[in-house]
Amino acid sequence: MMLTLVGLSRGMLADVARRARGVGADIVVRPPGTSLIGLSSAPMSEKMVDFLRRQPHVTHAVGSMTHPLSGVTTITGVRLKEFDEISGGFKYLEGGPIRNRDEIIVDNYYARQNNLRAGATVELLNRTWRVAGVVEEGKLARLVIPLDVLQELTANPGRISQVWVKVDDPANVPKVIASLKDQLKGYPVYSMEELTSLISVNNVPGLRAFITVIILLAVVVGFLVVFLSMYTAVLERTREIGILKALGASPLYVLHILFRETLLLALAGTVLGILFSYLTRWMIMSWAPASLTQVIVPDWWAIAGAIALGGALVGASYPGWRAARQDPIEALAYE
């Protein structure tokens, strides 16, 4: 559970970062007071795009608007011609660019999850859209429609969520950022490297706390599972423990046997957890690739193992103590 949830957190953030990089911009300008993973709609004027285009060394600037749908799914509006210029355009796997106002572009993950093909229809924002094209994932968003259509549907005319900026030479990025920060007080201005590095568990409000709670839950569940299974094992093996004690086994010897079994249980649990994280990733990629993204987190295997072992040893302590001090005569008489 822990490995899957950490993998999900990282995977979804990595997916956001990959799609941001896929735009091909060098700089991102966001509205004041917004978080890195913004699902809010459009607090910034579209006039900002023109302002940015006029700046020295800026070759392209394109605004986009992100609007939340359900869960973590969003739809993005962008002026496609301008977006193609900055990004090199989408790679169409089926169909082609949007030609009408009721058309939508979806990426292959969303298409797979919803059984969509070019020419199919999909219900979103209380209207029916025709899928103009299915594009390769990893660029801007999973669902893309013209910017003016999204602005109209969400009653946000002339508003956007962020501006993607490309400069003439990567060496000029720091200079442009410094200039923009000077002129746009309060607006977060990030280089693309900075933005993608900031998209992490620590910078998403509440995510670190969420993971901590999940880890604590895993420890408690692990403790209870081991406690109950070891307690049951000690009860079931009362007679066997009595035999060992009659043969001269010390309390430490009995404890050693139980803790060795606990260690095996924790190791087996860790290995199963690792295998389970591969299974959940496969299930997510098969059934919900657009909604969720999970990565395998090998750097967490040792942490998860240590947590499992700690919980298991604490869980085995009382049953172990009980077994170690069992009276051999009573234990041998146990049926």
């Binding site: 007679r239 066997e240 009595g242 035999i243 060992l244 004690k245 009659a246 043969l247 001269g248 086994a249 010390s250 010897y253 051999p328 005569i329 041998l332």
Partner: protein
């Protein structure tokens, strides 16, 4: 016999407290067992023979009196010292065999060596004992695949694997048919005669008692007579 007896019991008393009631299980038992003797303690249920068995085996502390086994006064030993005594000096054979069901016969024997810290010993004497017990070809079977007689022979092998000073057997034929009972008793007598193993056997069956060198009878927590 001038040699010091391997078991010396003097005025042994054991009182169990059940709530407010005191139950006098042993009421001043005196007993000497010379090294190499095959002794039978006979008596009806409730006579105190099992309590005597448990005290001599270091499973139970006496209330008063002196119990010396192999030079160690059990009445002065702590729990952990009695545990060590069981490991080194006493072998148990129980009526219900008490083999560990998940282990093979070989592992049931090996675990006694492991507990005694002798698991790396290569003991040629033990091969001879396995032949004597007739279980050399049954060692890789689990208890559930062995007959009652075979299980008890594995239990005997486990009891003597660490060369105990005394072998305590509590109704060892109680769960066996007459044929297997005779086989097990013959093995115990062979162990005594050929290897000099001191054996203290508890039973209420006169036929079983007849295999011993000497029989003492218990009644109401006392030894009431002794046959030479």
């Amino acid at each position: 016999m001038s040699e010091e007896p391997i078991i010396r019991v003097r005025d042994l008393r054991k009182i169990y407290r059940v709530g407010e009631v005191e139950v006098h299980a042993l009421r001043g038992v005196n007993l000497d067992v010379p090294r190499g003797e095959f002794l039978c303690v006979a008596g009806p249920s409730g006579s105190g023979k099992s309590t005597l068995f448990h005290i001599l085996g270091g499973l139970l502390a006496p209330t008063s009196g002196t119990v010396i086994v192999g030079g160690h006064d059990l009445s002065r030993l702590t729990d952990s010292e009695r545990t060590a005594l069981r490991r080194r000096m006493v072998g148990f054979v129980f009526q219900k065999f008490n083999l560990l069901p998940t282990l093979t016969a070989a592992d049931n024997i090996a675990i006694a060596r492991h507990i005694a810290g002798r698991n790396h010993d290569n003991d040629p004497w033990f091969r001879e004992v396995l032949e004597l017990l007739g279980i050399a070809d049954r060692l890789h079977h689990k208890p559930s695949k062995l007959s009652g007689g075979e299980q008890q022979r594995v239990a005997i092998a486990r009891a003597i694997v660490n060369h105990p000073a005394i072998l305590l057997a509590d109704e060892p034929t109680g769960n066996l048919d007459s044929q297997n009972s005779a086989a097990v008793l013959k093995i115990l007598r062979d162990l005594n005669e050929r290897l000099g193993q001191t054996i203290l056997l508890i039973t209420h069956d006169p036929v079983v008692a007849s295999y011993a060198h000497r029989v003492v009878h218990m009644l109401d927590g006392r030894i009431v007579d002794a046959e030479p």
